[in-house]
Every structure is written in C-alpha cells, then in structure tokens.
Amino acid sequence: MSSFGLLAEYENPAQLYAACERVRDAGYTKWDACSPFAVHGLDKAMGLKPSTLPWWVLGIAISGSIFMFFFQIWAMVYAYPFILAGKPLFSIPAYVPCWYEATVLSACLTAFFGNWALNGLPRYHHPAFSSRSFARVTDDKFFIMIESRDPQFDATAAEALLKDTGASSVEELED
C-alpha cells in the first residue's frame, strides 16, 4: 500500500483558516481542506481560483435560449403553419414565456450537472474515508490533507508543518 498523504484534524474554523494560510504559503499545490460547511473566506486562505462554473452556465444558457427562440419560429412558421386564436404565426411576445423557461432550464441543468462534473462527483471512494476520525468531517471537525503526489511533498516536513499549525492529530492515509 502506497501512501496517499497526510490528514490533519482541527477543532474549529479559525484553526483551519490559519493552517490553510500556512500550507498555502509553504507552496503546496496538491492539498485540500475539508469542513462540515463552507467556511467563509477559506478559498482566499487556500489561494483557490474562482470556479469556472458560471462560464459554463453562461455559454449553455445562451445556446439554449437561442435554440428555443429559433425552434419556436421553425415549428410555428415553417414546419406546420397554423393560425390559432388569431395570433400571427411569427409573434415574439407570444414566444417569450417558452423562450424564457427554456433559458432558465438550460442554465439550471448546467449549474446542477456542472457542479458535480467539475467536482468529480459522484465518486465511489476516497482515501480519506478510511480514516475513522474523518467521519466527523460532516459533523464538527475540520481537516487538511496534503497529498504525497505533491511535487514538494516530504512526509517529515509536511507533518512538522501540520503539527505546528495546531492540528489536534496528524495521521497517514493509505491509497
């Protein structure tokens, strides 16, 4: 069994926040923090880039919107022209509701599926789940993982850093 990395446990968000700043400044790249809720400002403390999700949503919502607009024109004016309720075949006001709903739907489906896809979920297993203490990550404990595939990973140095940041325990994770 090769080593996946180190798992350090913290008691509260303040410790986690301070520790993340230390790990970030130490220059690690393949590491992660886990918490029961989204700790405010932790992305800055970790030096994370903003999510690319909004760009996906924007692109697909605009495409869905354009598609629905022209689809309505094609279906109403060309595929089977049929006057109903005296409305003209080409009538932008009457197209608005379905057009709008299709835009919302394509944006929301992208936001939903994009969220899981960008996060690599669903995922069957993760090395951290083999740690008993990690079960409280969804309750009241806070964790930092430094992975052994990080280019500057050195087990002793990383362990010393994590202990120095006030971790209540540091354990090794197996891959």
């Binding site: 509260n12 968000p13 303040a14 410790q15 986690l16 926040y17 301070a18 520790a19 993340c20 923090a33 886990c34 918490s35 029961p36 809720f37 989204a38 700790v39 400002g41 932790l42 992305d43 403390a45 970790m46 994370l48 999510s51 999700l53 909004p54 949503v57 689809f71 279906a75 109403m76 595929a79 049929f82 109903l84 309720a85 197209y95 509701p97 379905c98 709903e101 299709a102 919302v104 739907l105 944006a107 929301c108 489906l109 936001a111 939903f112 994009g114 969220n115 979920l121 669903p122 995922r123 069957y124 993760h126 990690f134 079960a135 409280r136 990550v137 969804t138 309750d139 009241d140 006030g166």
Partner: protein
C-alpha cells in the same frame, strides 16, 4: 465552544421542547438569535439527525398513525384516479364549462403553495436573510410535493391521459408541434421548469446533509441509502467553491421563477376574453396570492413539526414571526388586488365586467366570495400586533384560514366567472359531486410524501444552519486568543 456564552442562554429552561417558545430579546441587536442557546456544531447535527436515525421499529406510534392516515388519503387519490381513467372526466360533469373548474381550482391552489418554498430558498437567499436557513429545507420539500399534487391535477384533467405527451415538444404522429403561442403551452413549460429547477435546488442543498447521515449511519441499509444519495461528498473546500457558485446560480434563476410561474398560470385566465379573467392585474395578484398561501402552508406544517421533532431552538418564534409578517404583507396586497378589481370594473364602464363583479359578491356564489374575503384579507390583519403574531396557536389557525381562503379565491375566480359566461346555454350552478374526494386525495398524497420526508431526510439544512452560528466565522472574536488566530 464552551467559551461562547451569550447571556440569553442562562434564562432558558432545560427542556428543549419548551425553550424555543420563550421570546428573549438579544441585548445588542434587540432581536432573538437565529439559533437559541449556546450551541455548537455538533448540537445541530444531533438535533436534526435524531429524528432520521430512530430505528424503523421504534418509529413513534403517533407518527405511524399519521402516516397511515395520509396513506389512506393517498389510496383515496389512487382509487379516484383509477375511476377517472375508467370512466373519463365525465365523472366531473365536464359536459358544461362550469364543471371544468374543479381540477383547475386544485391545480392553481397547489402550484401556488409551492411559491413560498422558492421564495424562501431563492429570494431570501439572495437578499442574505439568514433566518431562512432554519426553514428552507421544509419549504423546498413542500414546494416539490405541492407541485407534484398540482401536476397530477392538471395531467389528469386532459381527458385522454395517454395522449398527454402531445403537450411536450416531441415529434408525434400528427406532425404538429404544440402551439407555443398558447397560454396553456406556456403553462406546460412554466410548471415543468419550475418542478425541475426546484428539485435540482433541493437535491443540491441536501447532498452535504446526506453525507452527514451517511457518516453517522450504523446500519447497512442506511449506509447504502444515504451513501448513494451523498454522491461521495467529503466537504472538500475545493468542492465548496463550485458548490456554492452552483447554489447561487440556482438561486438566481429560481428567484425570477417565483414571479414567472404564477404569472404564466394567471395568463391561462388573463389571455382569455372572459369578463372576470381578462385583466392585467392578474399576474402580480396571482403571485402575491401564491406567496401568501404558500407561507400559510409552511406555517401549518412547521408549527406542529418543530414541536414534534424538538427543533424549537433552530426554528424559533422569530422564524414564525417573520413568516407571519410576510403573510400580513402579501395578504394586504391580495386585499388591494380584490379592491382594485372592483375599481377597474367600475371605472372601465364596461357593463359585462361590472356585472361579473357585482355577481361575484352578491350573486349565487356570494358565500364563496365572502369566505375568501374574510379569510384572506381580514384574518391576517391580526398580525399587526406582536402579541398575536408570536402566538403559535393563533398563527396556526390564521394560516389554516388563509389556506381555506386561498382555495376559495381560486374557486371564485374559476367558477363565478364561468357560470355566467358569454353563452347562456352553459350557465349553471355548479355543485360538486365526487370531486371533493379528489381534493382530499391530493391532500393525502401531499401529507404522505411530507411525512416520509420528515422521517428519512434531514428536515433542516444542517450545513447551512452551521454557517449562521457565530463560531462558524473564522474571525469570530471568541477565537481571538486561540493559537494561530488573527
């Protein structure tokens, strides 16, 4: 978090079932804290999961009784739908347009209920109303179940149910696309989009809480059930970044849905040319009414549920009071709309419009109109008084009255306008025959789903409520002396 000791917690009695109902003023802000007492993160987890983690065989008998009662209603629904399939909508007397109304009344009633959930989950989220965290999960669940009830009313009223797929833009044997210029087609799009988006939003919020239940599960089926639903969530900060962005985007798109769905439903009426329906006030009037009725339903569900589940420290009297304020506001807006309808009818000088409204208030259906008016406009006015809007029993009763009134509002709009429409041959005094069973059946379906939700799903957004505790902020002053703090 023993170092956090707000002075308010000292006066609280130990029994958590009593505690939340005492109104204590926050000494600094003059308001009740969002989560009562000196609470740590673990308390939130325990308080919410306790109800879900009870072994199946130890489900309280009162709950089983309620579930069986709701299931009986659900069976009634199934039986009635079976009869409807067998006989066709003739069992509603649909030879006459007046009888068209009942299923539509139910549809508009149920779809309106859902709007409070979306308002809480989306609009209050965007406006950073932190009190929403305690009630959004319930309200979103209520939205989804209400839309299921609404959809079942509208799907079943088409007559040839097996041809319902004609409503969707899928190629069919007639080579004719649905008419995108028709309000009925707009409705198909609006309700389907609304349901889909609400479901995605709800599920996204649930995933971290499913992970909590997964990590605490001690029996195999729970580990599998919640493990599958949690999608392997591990609370990674890298995931939270995208997750929160997705949540914001879903909220941002749901917020206009709150306004658009019931506007489109009102177009079903407003775009027609029947006096009483053909009015431009309908979209805002319907939206206000939907939020009004929806909050009343939230109150009716949450007041008993918070007591029963022992969640009075998380869903406090402040939440109830805030929702009562929204009921007062939207109830007054609805009252304004009722008045404005009469004003427009008089001011337009159109005799057909004028007749319709005089007929509404003093015609054969006068009783429905006055039930609507007294329940919707008069009863919420009690909430001007703080003593009354913080009284749980009164809140529940007013909410029940509002629900009744909102059902009658839809009855008044549908039935009184139709029973004197342009063709005197279709004039009739509509008397429901078996349709009441249909309404009761949808209530059975709704409560059955809701009770299952309470039993198996986390009823409070655990990971969101934790963020409103003071110690969730890494820069909270209680941490100032901690090692490595700022």
């Amino acid at each position: 978090m023993a170092n956090a000791a707000p002075s308010t917690s000292l006066a609280l009695p130990d029994d958590p079932n009593v505690r939340g109902d005492i109104v204590l003023e926050d000494p600094i802000e003059g308001r009740e804290p969002l989560v009562r007492g000196d609470r740590d993160f673990h308390y939130i987890t325990e308080a919410v999961c306790r109800g879900n983690e009870l072994p199946l065989m130890k489900t309280p008998s009162t709950f089983v009784f309620g579930l069986l009662l709701a299931f009986a209603g659900f069976l009634l629904f199934g039986g009635y739908v079976g009869w409807l399939f067998w006989e066709g909508p003739g069992i509603w007397g649909n030879n006459n347009p007046v009888s068209w109304a009942w299923d539509i009344v139910n549809f508009v009633f149920w779809v309106g209920i859902g709007h409070a959930g979306t308002l809480i989950s989306a609009i209050l989220y965007l406006f950073r109303q932190k009190w929403r965290m305690g009630v959004n999960r319930y309200a979103e669940a209520m939205t989804i179940f209400a839309v299921i009830c609404a959809a079942s009313c509208v799907v079943l009223h088409t007559g040839r149910i097996w041809l319902d797929y004609f409503l969707f833009p899928i190629p069919n044997q007639m080579q004719l696309w649905p008419n995108f210029r028709s309000p009925l087609e707009w409705d198909v799009f609006a309700v389907n989009t609304y349901f889909t988006v609400s479901l995605l939003f709800w599920f996204t919020g649930l995933v971290p809480d499913f992970a909590t239940l997964r990590d605490r599960a001690t029996v195999k089926w729970r580990q599998l059930f919640y493990g599958a639903l949690a999608l392997g969530w591990r609370g990674s900060a890298r995931h939270w970044v995208t997750y929160e962005k997705a949540y914001q985007i879903l909220a941002a798109f749901s917020a206009p849905l709150v306004l658009s769905v019931h506007s489109v439903v009102s177009f079903d009426f407003a775009v027609s040319q029947l006096p009483g329906w053909h009015t431009t006030i309908f979209p805002p009037y319907f939206v206000a009414g939907a939020i009004f009725g929806g909050f009343a339903m939230v109150q009716n569900l949450i007041i008993p549920a918070r007591a029963w589940l022992g969640l009075k420290d998380i869903i406090t009297i402040r939440h109830i009071e805030n929702m009562n304020k929204i009921i007062l506001l939207t109830g007054s807006l609805v009252g304004y709309a009722y008045g404005m309808e009469f004003f427009v009818a008089a001011y337009s000088g159109n005799e057909y419009e004028g007749f319709t409204f005089i007929n509404r208030a003093f015609g054969p259906y006068w009783w429905a109109y006055w039930i609507m008016l007294s329940c919707n406009v008069l009863s919420p006015q009690l909430f001007w008084f703080k003593k009354l809007r913080t009284n749980l029993y009164l809140s529940w009763i007013v909410a029940a009255l509002v629900n009744t009134g909102m059902w009658f509002e839809r009855f008044v709009i549908c039935v009184t306008s139709l029973h004197r429409d342009a063709l005197p041959s279709s004039w009739e005094y509509f008397v429901p025959r078996t349709e009441v069973l249909f309404l009761l059946g949808t209530f059975g379906l709704f409560l059955f789903l809701f009770l299952l939700f309470i039993r198996f799903f986390p009823v409070i957004a655990i990971s969101e409520v934790k963020t409103i505790l003071p110690q969730a902020n890494p820069h909270w002053e209680g941490y100032a002396h901690a090692k490595g703090g700022h």
